[in-house]
């Protein structure tokens, strides 16, 4: 791909994680064979090569994991909080120690560029454990006037876009508050979670406090099926469609639920923005992690007067994006996570063109094997177009315009989602006013896709409810002593 003397030479990451050929389920502190007797191949989406065999948990396996979590609950929930803290601090330190290995594995199994897994995912994973370790003995200051008790056994179902980060976002607060967990990683990205299981053992976390069951949608359904019958809390991150199905299946069981779902987040650029900075923000907003980001800034709203200028700058910047080997340290856009997701994205791209929007895509060579998608943007998008309304979860940007702040707010909020929003303007008062008026759980002003363990993340409306991170995120994992009596399903 070296067409010019200034092209980047390949800079492949050399570390290779030590992997077992096959992984069992992590239940009760041990890797055990699945009683389902089934396993599946987990692949590298950039090469389609098999990395390892992974157990496919059946309902019996899930029940076993829930039973292990139940068994571990009394001792763990009564462990002195400061002692729990020390264990979680250890986990954070061990993750930092093994972060290179974990980052490489994350990129191998999920397709994301090593630069992102190394510089974004892993630091956040460690920070999440570190931050929540510190909360263990400080819950009385998080909930003034109430006493925080653990909820119990948490069933946690996570997606494939930030596999280890999502595991950390789910496990760390749950454990800090004294709960025990059954975690189900996504079907396509189970490996870093399993390595995390090894780390938890190394750090001396008591058996059964965290159980990890790998598998497909059936394993997830087996967890939600136990809501109210051993599982006291369900936390799910994934699509709005599946989130709604989960809400339906746990209805009436008295199970506490938090959902972090899809989005169609607006990124709004005013004419008075620092345009080059805004271009960078738009690029990271939609092409970070191949656009496999629930809060991706997938709808770009440009103030009409700057449309042509901005699109020109954006296209010039897009041409610089390096698409290819996720393990190359210079790669900006890696592999699409799975064949099925690639098909979904391609369907949306076809719909965009068919409905009359104008497509521009980066003309780069794509590797022969693996799942790849060229970064693309559509101009001339109408609010009624499919690509303006539905979550694509891929590297595809829909561009629209506005004339007044009023119109920007109205169009930005014209969605059933409400996860994030971005605003670009050099006028701070305008930025803050917009942040007040946008219906979104996270608003980024002159930046985008920022995450931190101290900053709560979560959605409005059909992007879900509950927050992850910070003091407010703890609320998802505690039962407050002055809370009203729960109905049904509980001891």
């Amino acid at each position: 791909m070296n067409q010019t003397p200034f092209a980047y030479a390949p800079a492949p990451e050399s570390v290779r994680p030590v992997l077992k050929p096959a992984y069992g389920l992590f239940i009760g502190g041990k890797f055990v064979e699945p009683r389902s007797g089934k396993s599946f191949k987990t692949i590298n989406p950039a090469t389609e090569e098999s990395i390892a065999m992974v157990a496919d948990a059946g309902a019996e396996d899930v029940a076993r994991a829930v039973a292990a979590a139940r068994k571990a609950l009394p001792a763990w929930s009564k462990t002195k909080p400061a002692e729990r803290a020390k264990l979680l601090f250890r986990v954070a330190r061990r993750i930092q120690e093994r972060s290179r290995e974990l980052a490489v594995l994350e990129s191998m199994n999920g397709g994301k560029p090593i630069r992102e897994s190394r510089d974004e995912d892993l630091p956040l994973v460690a920070q999440h454990f570190f931050h929540h370790a510190g909360w263990c003995d400080k819950l009385m200051y998080a909930f003034a006037g109430a006493t925080a008790h653990p909820i119990g056994v948490c069933g946690q179902i996570i997606p494939w876009n930030f596999p280890l980060m999502m595991a950390a976002w789910k496990l760390a607060p749950a454990l800090a508050c004294g709960n025990t967990c059954v975690l189900k990683p996504a079907e396509t990205t189970p490996l870093t979670a399993l390595m995390l299981g090894e780390i938890l053992q190394e750090c001396g976390l008591p058996d059964g406090v965290v159980n990890i069951v790998t598998g497909g949608p059936d394993a997830g359904r087996a967890i939600t099926a136990l809501a109210g019958r051993g599982v006291d809390k369900i936390a799910f991150t994934g699509s709005t469609e599946v989130g709604k199905a989960i809400a339906k299946s746990v209805a009436g069981t008295g199970t506490k639920l938090t959902l972090e779902l899809g989005g169609k987040s607006p990124n709004i650029v005013f004419a008075d923005a620092a345009l080059d900075q805004a271009v960078e923000g738009v690029v990271s907003g939609i092409w970070f992690n191949q656009g496999h980001v629930c809060c991706a800034g997938s709808r770009l709203f440009l103030e009409e007067s700057i449309h042509d200028d901005f699109i020109e700058r954006l296209k010039a910047r897009m041409k610089m994006l390096r698409v290819g080997d996720p393990l190359d340290k210079n790669t900006d856009v890696g592999a699409i996570n799975s064949k099925s997701q690639l098909e979904v994205i391609n369907r949306f791209v076809s719909a965009g063109s068919a409905e009359g929007a104008q497509k521009f895509e980066v003309s780069c060579d794509l590797p022969k094997k693996g799942f790849w998608c060229r970064p693309a943007l559509f101009t001339g998008v109408q609010p009624s177009h499919t690509i303006a309304r539905e979550e694509i979860f891929g590297p595809v940007l829909s561009v629209m315009t506005f004339r007044t702040p009023e119109e920007a707010v109205q169009r930005a909020n014209n969605t059933t989602y409400g996860l994030s929003a971005g605003v670009w303007t050099e006028k701070a008062a305008r930025a803050l006013e917009m942040s007040n008026r946008l219906s979104a759980g996270v608003v980024w002003l002159n930046t985008f896709n920022r995450f931190d363990a101290t900053a709560p993340f979560g959605g409005y409306r059909e992007s879900g409810f509950g927050r992850e991170g910070g003091r407010q995120g703890l609320m998802s994992y505690v039962k407050l002593a002055n809370a009203k009596k729960k109905t049904g399903g509980k001891r």
Binding site: K86, Q127, G134, Y141, P405, A429, S435, A453
Partner: protein
């Protein structure tokens, strides 16, 4: 017949700006163990040593406060790791100086280490607990956030030598302040062992400085030094407490004094954000939220 081995005795110095200088005064004071035997000689810090320490602390504090709270938390956690590694040394020093049982000393050391871990967890939470957004009655975006006060002199009492030092110093540094610790001369070997733990942790040079010296001599200089922004003290002689409190009149130093014998075993207070609160300034920021 084997001759008894001659032990290598440790020269006790000060801990200042990341290094271990002797007192510029050249003075030392003999340190006796519980049985009255002289076991070491402690550096007797002078006014000049204090001023040097303030200079180092002042420079270090600016960077320390500018570090992310997460980074400060990790550094403080590293202190706990280093203290844990020196656990047996700390226990035997307490036994030797105070004549206490090993089990009793171990309890104090463990408590001090666990308290350090607790404060490692406070750095990135104190703003969420002490600060917040203010719902003012107008189109303004207003938030209040805690910031470090600056360089804080920490005057450590004689009781529970390790736990008192840790309990007074950790709240100060976790908020982003720098500390100048005045440790009792009698406990100099222990204070310096803490200094050695700090020097081998990732605490930037100058963030904690430990001087051993007579409080009565140093307190007036602390009170009158204008680059010291706050004072933390506990269970001091009436005269020392008063001479420190006069510092408030000098440059409005925040003097935070526990007059009665503090119960350093009380986690409810010593692990709370209210142990940190006296050493932060609250800054309220206003910005219009409408054009």
């Amino acid at each position: 017949m084997t001759a008894a081995r001659i032990e290598v005795a440790k020269t006790l110095k000060l801990y200042m700006n990341g290094g271990f200088p002797r007192s510029e005064s050249g003075r030392t004071i003999p340190i006796k163990d519980a049985k009255g035997r002289v076991v070491a000689h402690a550096s007797h810090a002078s006014r000049k040593d204090l001023r040097d320490a303030v200079e180092a602390a002042h420079a270090a504090q600016i960077k320390w406060a500018a570090a992310t709270a997460y980074n400060r938390g990790q550094v403080i956690y590293r202190i706990a790791e280093m203290l844990e590694a020196r656990r047996s040394e700390l226990v035997s020093l307490i036994c030797s100086i105070e004549g206490r049982t090993k089990a009793d000393a171990a309890r104090e050391v463990d408590h001090a280490i666990d308290r350090t871990v607790c404060f490692a967890g406070w750095t990135d939470k104190i703003a969420a607990v002490l600060g917040g957004k203010q719902p003012v009655a107008g189109p303004y975006f207003v938030f209040t956030m805690p910031e470090a006060t600056g360089t804080v002199a920490v005057v450590v009492p004689d009781c529970t030598p390790l736990l008192s030092l840790i309990s007074l110093v950790l709240p100060v540094i976790s908020a982003g302040n720098a500390a100048i610790v005045i440790a009792p001369m009698t406990n100099a070997p222990l204070a310096l062992a803490v200094g050695e733990a700090l020097a081998t942790s990732d605490v930037p040079a100058g963030v904690v400085n430990i001087l051993t010296g007579p409080r009565t001599e140093l307190c007036p200089w602390i009170a009158s030094h204008r680059d010291i922004a706050a004072i933390s003290g506990a269970f001091l002689a009436q005269a020392d407490a008063k001479s420190l409190e006069i510092g408030c009149a000098e440059n409005l130093k925040r003097v935070h004094m526990h007059h009665d014998a503090p119960d350093f075993d009380d986690d409810a207070f010593w692990h709370s954000p209210f142990a940190i609160a006296p050493f932060v300034e609250l800054k309220t920021v206003w910005h219009p939220s409408a054009l």
